[in-house]
Point group: none
Chain length 159, copies 2
DNA sequence: ATTAAAATCACCCAAAAGTGTGAAGGAAAA
DNA sequence: TTTTCCTTCACACTTTTGGGTGATTTTAAT
């Protein structure tokens, strides 16, 4: 099991878990003492505890475990001519404040994909693609995707 | 909570969990009957169950949690003969049956102008521009202007 | 003169693109 | 810890595009 949270945070989480476990056990003990019904229905009592702590365990795991990273690769064909080797101007990108995700969208845009298709390829919603697109247009100071692509190519942000 | 596993698999996991939970509860019941020690140490008994099911919960969560997806666009480089780089392939144009006016529209499209702007520049109506655009898409066998531009550039119909 | 292709435009309808606003979670930096 | 940026998404609304059909006028070729 891998933990993605910093140590201090992790310890706090675990501590919280221990405390709540103690509290819950105490509460259950109290309930047990006060409602003797449970003694006659030990099965139910234990079942309840089982479910409760299963949920707690799930919560703990979700909180602490670093999600597996699955990498999906999208191939994009880039046509390069040998003479004018188009290097990408990273500085321009950072200067404009274009984020990684926005660049993804921009690249797919340049290939001619629709927002819908881009959404599918990047596993995000159409709305998100639109948001990225809007931000790109703002940063590139253009009004349409075709202009964005044209300008981005001229500025060597994409090839 | 989001599940990254296909539905059928998810259901199987949950089913497995339920079955094992039932089995464990049954086992515990059996233990409870046979070793009365537990009756005198109910606290310990419950604590054990708590821990057991916490672990089970963690296991469940780990099994079912959706892996984080990182999308990466890798660029497949395709080198193009640079001798004919700036030259426009007239033959390709006539082969595709693209007319002069359509080419005008296509060029303005590539610069990023909207149909409206193209109409103004060419002194024709918006509808006419649309007609030309539609014909271009047909002839280039694409569905959108961005794709038309991309394809036309690749085919050296425009630069 | 006849024919054919190109260019022009209108209209309607549907789909895609773009705008604006708000919001929530996560990661990284201050 | 707080703050900031990135990423994600929703929803409502407007504009732009694109598809299909049909029609008229040039232009060019036969």
């Amino acid at each position: 099991m891998k933990f993605g949270v910093p140590l201090k945070t992790k310890h706090k989480e675990i501590l919280m878990y221990c405390v709540s476990m103690a509290l819950i056990l105490f509460l259950l003990k109290w309930l047990e003492v006060h409602f003797i019904v449970f003694n006659y229905r030990l099965d139910l009592f234990i079942g309840a505890i089982a479910i409760l702590f299963t949920v707690l365990g799930i919560w703990l795991a979700l909180k602490l475990v670093k999600p597996k990273v699955e990498t999906r690769i999208i191939e994009k064909e880039v046509y390069i001519d040998n003479s004018t080797q188009t290097e990408i101007d990273e500085q321009e990108i950072t200067k404009l404040g274009i984020s990684k995700r926005e660049l993804d969208v921009l690249n797919l845009m340049a290939t001619g994909f629709s927002n819908e298709e881009i959404a599918e390829k990047l596993f995000i919603s159409l709305n998100t693609v639109k948001t990225h697109a809007s931000n790109i247009f703002l940063k590139l100071n253009v009004k349409r995707r075709t202009m964005a692509v044209e300008k981005a190519k001229r500025m060597k942000i994409i090839h």
